[in-house]
């Protein structure tokens, strides 16, 4: 596998991290959804810059080294964890406004040149783990089709989950037999999502008809006052975001171009799919992933007055598919502007529709559960491609160790960490003539 970062990718990666650091410095946006709730106190001046830096570092460090780095090194494609978790921290850390974008740009430069150097080095080794990692995309694409089934099992009955499983499998088989032009997992995934939506709507209607008695419960003065107070916090936050729309549109513009180069994958799995050149599949995966994140992003945004660096994550599927970077820049900017404009309406809707928020939580959880299996299997397959049984033993052994050691590496990334370590070990063994490299397909 060869990696060539074009000047466009290099320039826009650096611009993106610089701009993102500026946004986090001004408490306008952060990438880490866990850091965002704290920004309310930060921009109100109740949290000092050094306290806020400590919070951001504590919540982000594990994901940079335990998720972003292994995915980038094993796929050769950039990801938002490795770009924007550090830019969150650097921007918040910077004592002066002008320093934030400089620190962000420096990080972007380290990344593009570091990744370039790392992949070039790997390509010259006797055992090439980047080529082996191409094993990843098949398990991800096929297993991902079953995430709606897992979400249905979490939210609804066992019976519905079994029905959904069988329907998804059936659609996959029909697709394989009669529709060779369509990726078998694509239609199955769509079928699963439709079932999930139908079940959620039925549930919502059922809740409506039974919950009427609860609504008529007398509301106390105190309760009304509390509601009013938080409503006014939310309204002020939404107004703060609207006032800063031009800044967010700038981020949308830069991201549109970078994502359009297909060198930045939005989801945990998308990097591997992009590395294989399957852009339409990547778009489908990241579109459904967005459904799991939108309510979280909207809620934390109106509760804190700060937005998500990558917006509602809808920019990924759109920018993967757009035909050129100029159009991607325009659409990216307009999309971010529109997202911020409708933010407070979406937040109100979510407050009223509990089953939609539940469904979204379950989608996020279900994607994780299925991807953990898929990425572990893909990693073991990569281990097998590199070093047969020995490769499987190293990757699987590291995964098992991580499980019992309190999971210092996020479960989803422990397979890829295993592959990288196996790659390094097998290369050392090959140089020592203790391991004969096998041909990697």
């Amino acid at each position: 596998m060869t990696l060539h970062l074009s000047p466009l990718v290099i320039i826009f990666t650096i611009l993106c991290t610089a701009y993102a650091a500026f946004l986090s410095h001004s408490a306008l946006a952060v990438f880490n959804d866990g850091v965002r709730p704290f920004l309310l106190d930060f921009h109100r001046g109740e949290l000092s810059r050094s306290q806020m830096t400590a919070i951001a570092f504590g919540l982000s460090a594990g994901f940079i080294f335990g998720l972003g780095v292994p995915i980038a090194l094993s796929s050769g494609v950039l990801n938002p964890w490795i770009l924007f978790l550090p830019s969150d921290i650097l921007g918040i850390l910077a004592p002066k406004k002008w320093l934030a974008p400089i620190l962000g740009a420096a990080w972007g430069a380290v990344l593009v040149f570091g990744l370039n150097a790392a992949t070039t080095a790997v390509n010259g080794l006797p055992v090439n783990f980047l080529t082996a990692m191409q094993q990843m995309s098949t398990p991800i694409l096929y297993l991902f089709a079953f995430f709606p089934v897992v979400a249905i099992a979490m939210q609804f009955s066992r019976l519905r989950a079994v029905i959904a499983f069988l329907v998804t499998l059936l659609v996959m088989l029909i697709d394989m037999k009669w529709l060779p032009a369509v990726t078998p997992s694509a239609l199955a995934l769509a079928a699963g999502m439709i079932m999930l939506v139908i079940f959620a709507v039925i549930e919502e209607i059922k809740n409506r008809s039974t919950a009427h008695t609860d609504d008529s419960e007398p509301v106390s003065e105190e309760e009304l006052a509390a509601k009013k107070e938080t409503d006014s916090i939310f309204a002020a936050n939404a107004a703060r975001l609207r006032k800063n729309i031009p800044w967010f549109m700038g981020m949308g513009l830069l991201l549109g171009v970078l994502i359009n180069t297909h060198m930045l994958g939005g989801g945990e799995a998308t990097s591997y799919i992009l590395a294989k050149g399957q852009f339409a599949n990547a778009a489908q995966v990241d579109f459904y992933r967005a459904l799991g994140f939108i309510p979280l992003i909207v809620t934390t945004a109106v509760a804190s007055g700060a937005y998500q660096i990558v917006g509602a994550t809808l920019i990924y599927p759109i920018a993967y598919l757009l035909p050129n970077p100029i159009l991607a820049a325009i659409v990216g900017a307009l999309l971010f502007g529109a997202e911020v404009l409708v933010l407070s309406y979406v937040a109100k809707g979510l407050g009223a529709l509990r089953s939609i928020r539940d469904a979204s939580d379950n989608i996020r959880n279900a994607i994780n559960v299925t991807l953990e299996v898929a990425i572990l299997f893909g990693s073991l397959a990569a281990g097998n491609a590199m070093g047969a049984g020995v490769g499987i033993a190293i990757v699987g052994g590291i995964y098992a160790l991580n499980e019992v050691l309190g999971r210092p590496v996020v479960r989803m990334a422990s397979g890829p960490v295993g592959v990288i370590i196996a790659g390094i070990l097998l290369n050392i063994l090959a140089y020592a003539h203790l391991f004969t490299p096998i041909a990697i397909k």
Binding site: D33, G34, P37, F38, E223, R357, D361
Partner: protein, 120 residues
């Protein structure tokens, strides 16, 4: 008697874990941040446990806006805590807790024991 509201990505796992305790003294409600926030604000013997991948985003959500930072704590991706640590948090009036969904089994038993033992 303390009531624990649970929410976030891992609420079904959390619910199963709490049900397995078969403890008649444990009262818990499956909820979310937007519903539990106003309830916690106007009551005293109530607690919230939220879960997500960071331990703070989907876990705490709008809770900081409802309760303020001083009443909330996140364990993040931390894989252990001690009864003493939780007691200190409860003594300082922290009632909202966030933790990572992959650390539920490590943190929640200690946390819930301490909440049940705590007399406000």
């Amino acid at each position: 008697m303390a009531t624990i509201y649970i929410g976030g990505v891992g609420k079904s796992d959390l619910k199963r874990l709490l049900e397995q305790r078969h403890d008649p003294n444990l009262k818990f409600v499956v909820s979310n941040d937007l519903e539990a926030g106003p309830i916690l604000k106007r009551t005293t013997d109530t607690y919230y446990i939220g879960t997500c991948h960071t331990g703070a985003g989907g876990s705490l959500g709008a809770m900081l806006a409802f309760m303020g930072r001083q009443r909330t704590h996140t364990f993040g991706r931390q894989s252990r805590t001690t009864p003493e640590d939780v007691r200190k948090l409860l003594a300082s009036n922290v009632r909202v807790f966030g933790l990572s969904v992959d650390q539920i089994n490590a943190i929640v038993p200690v946390l819930v024991d301490a909440i049940l033992a705590h007399q406000p």
